[in-house]
């Protein structure tokens, strides 16, 4: 029987966004607000996830699809424990590594230091880091740039190195939020293989991508989110992707017969 790695129980996530709209943003209004003991008026609530429940098991690669703003990234951040649940609960085994499209890990440090320190931070011993170092660098394919500060990297190079570091350890849970989208075709093949390896090592991978082909190739399950709710989910990845495409007015994917 498959063991669950992530259990999401009726999860609601509400963002409170500051600094939007009404407030003129001057010092006088800020003072007035303090005097009157008001909350910041510009606070706006965004109900990003509205009651989502699902279970992910060892060896699952779960694709998450949906339009922009449907709550995909929010869901992943909640699974990583980076967002508080307004209601409901997220249960996980261990902590999750979340790879987004954002900046470097330690941007002022060289790629080399990022590899070494990143691996140490994840709890590897210095000996293991030494052994794996070359394979991580080779996997990332950044080449000579490994000796430059990570802030000088292109977006693609940065995300390759980050993926290489985070997947160097057999993470229990790896959350990939469009982090592979900026990589080239060669890297996509490599990362696909790496995700398969992680799954074989009883890890669970979540993949957010707008490239539906990537989801279909990589994932054995898929969740379709819309406005914070699950529309469909299941192992019939191709069907759900087609339904999603039909709902969003896209062309159905053309597949090679297997």
């Amino acid at each position: 029987m498959a063991e669950p790695m992530v259990v999401v129980d009726n999860l609601h996530v509400v963002y409170r966004v500051y600094g939007s709209g009404v407030d003129k943003g001057t010092a006088a209004t800020a003072l007035l607000r303090l005097v009157k003991r008001q909350r910041r008026p510009s606070i706006r609530e965004v109900h990003a996830i509205r009651g989502v429940s699902f279970v992910a098991y060892k060896g699952d690669a779960v694709g998450v699809i949906g339009r922009n703003g449907s709550g995909k990234s929010t869901l992943l951040r909640a699974v990583a424990g980076l967002l508080p649940a307004e209601e409901g609960m997220v249960y996980t085994i261990g902590h999750a590594a979340l790879l987004g499209v954002n900046a470097a890990l330690m941007e002022n440090l060289t790629g080399e230091k990022n590899v070494i320190l990143g691996c140490l931070a994840m709890g590897m011993s210095p000996q293991t880091v030494k052994e794996r170092y070359q394979s991580v660098v080779d996997f990332s394919g950044v080449g000579d740039f490994i000796n430059l500060a990570m802030k000088t990297y292109s977006t693609g190079m940065g995300s390759r190195l980050r993926f290489a570091i985070a997947s160097a350890k057999n993470q229990d849970i790896l959350l990939v939020d469009e982090a592979l989208a900026t990589g080239d075709a060669e890297f996509r093949v490599k990362s696909h293989r790496r995700i398969d390896e992680l799954r074989e090592h009883a890890g669970t991978v979540f993949l957010v991508a707008h490239n539906l082909g990537e989801i279909e190739e990589t994932c054995n399950k898929v969740i379709w989110l819309e406005k914070g709710r699950i529309i469909q989910a299941g192992e019939n990845v191709a069907e759900i992707i087609d339904a999603y495409l039909a709902a969003t007015g896209g062309e159905p994917r053309v597949r090679e017969p297997r």
Partner: protein, 418 residues
């Protein structure tokens, strides 16, 4: 805690009144086998699964009418029976809430296990810190030197505060360098969580590594600035004595104290930028109150007419404040003039003490005062004695590091948010 009430319903939509809640049940009935989905809105949901949320969720005891309907559980395998609440299922398989923090002892162990990361992070950051300045690492030395030069120019030359303190320049420079260690630890750690947000979000590791690493960065810089300090005070004619070895226990205690402060400020600064905006003012006030520029042991406390002379309670408070304690101990270890002019160094002598406080009354010429009577502060009663200073040094270190650790640890799972 979670007294969820689970109600098994067999719902036949045609027979039920058009209650939206019950419709919701049929919409969201749990499917235990994956792949059976026919999409939302289908009314053939199978056995419905009504789950009252726990009391803490909806702010009151769960009743059937107030119960929030659990939405359908997707992707569930055969191991999950229809009537088991998801929370129980998760706990049965040893899953933890993603927002649960590790027990304190386990957390401490995991910090110790990451020691190579902490020191490596500190060293690498130190090397990279000045990589964009043309003078590079030289700034590690130049910054404290320039600081000392500015204060010397203003307080030593222009205002002439050095009256009453023998060996003013070593006194001033030592004070600035020691205070700088605490100051920089506090300032940098107040922004540590914001600065390292990408790292915190991407990799799972105990977040306490970061403030610890920042204190070690400052400790590494301190080693260099103390080398500069030694050159300055040796050039000033300070004798090299065994007392100098005392700086090791002093710096160890001060480092512990700084770690405590760094933990606390890292948590405060993680949520709001206000902390790092306010901190410079707090720290500047702290610096003036800690006797970096003036002597709160002698000049301010022993001379009639000064505020601290009239308020010994305030003088006591200033002298036991942690920064003042570490500064005074370091000065007494490194600087002979400070050691032998420390109140309490000699047995109490009322006349000599009074001569120090009010040389005009005894018609002491300025040159005699500067060469001899300036040391007579040692005949006065100390407000805080030498052994008591060591007690406070250790006490502050222990209190700060324990309180700081727990304060930081309690928010461990909240640092990547925002």
């Amino acid at each position: 805690m979670s007294e969820s009430c689970v109600i098994q319903l067999r719902i036949r939509p045609a027979h039920e009144p058009a209650d939206h809640k019950l419709t919701a049940v049929t919409n969201r009935g749990r499917l235990s086998a994956p792949g059976e989905l026919t999409g939302p809105g289908s009314l053939d949901g199978g056995p419905g699964h009504l789950q009252g949320s726990s009391a803490q969720d909806n702010g009151g005891p769960a009743t059937a009418s107030a119960a929030v309907l659990a939405p359908q559980v997707y992707l569930a395998g055969a191991g999950l029976s229809a009537d088991e609440p998801l929370g129980d299922y998760a706990r049965r398989h040893n899953l933890q809430p993603a927002s649960a923090r590790p027990p304190a002892l386990k957390y401490l162990r995991s910090l110790w296990q990451r020691r190579q990361f902490i020191t490596g992070f500190a060293t690498a950051s130190n090397v990279a810190m000045y990589s964009e300045a043309r003078l590079g690492q030289l700034w590690q030395v130049l910054t404290p030197l320039l600081n000392a030069a500015v204060y010397f120019l203003i307080f030593g030359v222009l205002l002439g505060i050095n009256r009453g303190v023998p060996g003013y320049i070593p006194f001033l420079v030592t004070g600035i360098f020691v205070f700088n260690f605490t100051q920089r630890s506090c300032m940098t750690s107040s922004v540590v969580m914001r600065q390292n947000l990408p790292l915190i979000r991407a990799l799972p590791f105990p977040r306490g590594c970061l403030p610890l690493g920042y204190v070690i960065i400052e400790l590494q810089q301190l080693v260099l600035s103390f080398a500069v300090l030694f050159v300055i005070i040796l050039a000033y004619g300070e004798p090299l004595t065994w007392y100098w070895l005392l700086i090791f226990p002093i710096l160890a205690l001060q480092s512990l104290f700084n770690v405590g402060c760094a933990f606390g400020l890292a948590r405060w600064g993680s949520g709001f930028d206000d902390v790092s905006q306010l901190l410079p003012f707090v720290i500047r006030t702290w610096m003036y109150a800690s006797g970096v520029i003036f002597s709160i042991q002698t000049t301010l406390a022993l001379i009639p007419g000064k505020v601290l002379y009239d308020h010994p309670g305030l003088a006591y408070l200033l002298q036991i404040n942690p920064a003042a304690v570490y500064i005074t101990l370091t000065r007494n270890a490194l600087l002979q003039d400070q050691r032998i002019s420390m109140p309490g160094y000699h047995a109490y002598n009322a006349v000599r003490c009074a001569m120090y406080g009010d040389p005009g009354r005894f018609h002491i010429p300025p040159d005699v005062f500067q060469s001899k009577v300036i040391y007579f502060s040692s005949y006065c009663h100390p407000i805080v004695s030498g052994p008591a200073l060591w007690g406070y040094a250790a006490g502050w270190a222990v209190v700060a590091v324990i309180a700081g650790f727990f304060f930081f640890w309690r928010a461990e799972t909240r640092y990547g948010r925002g």
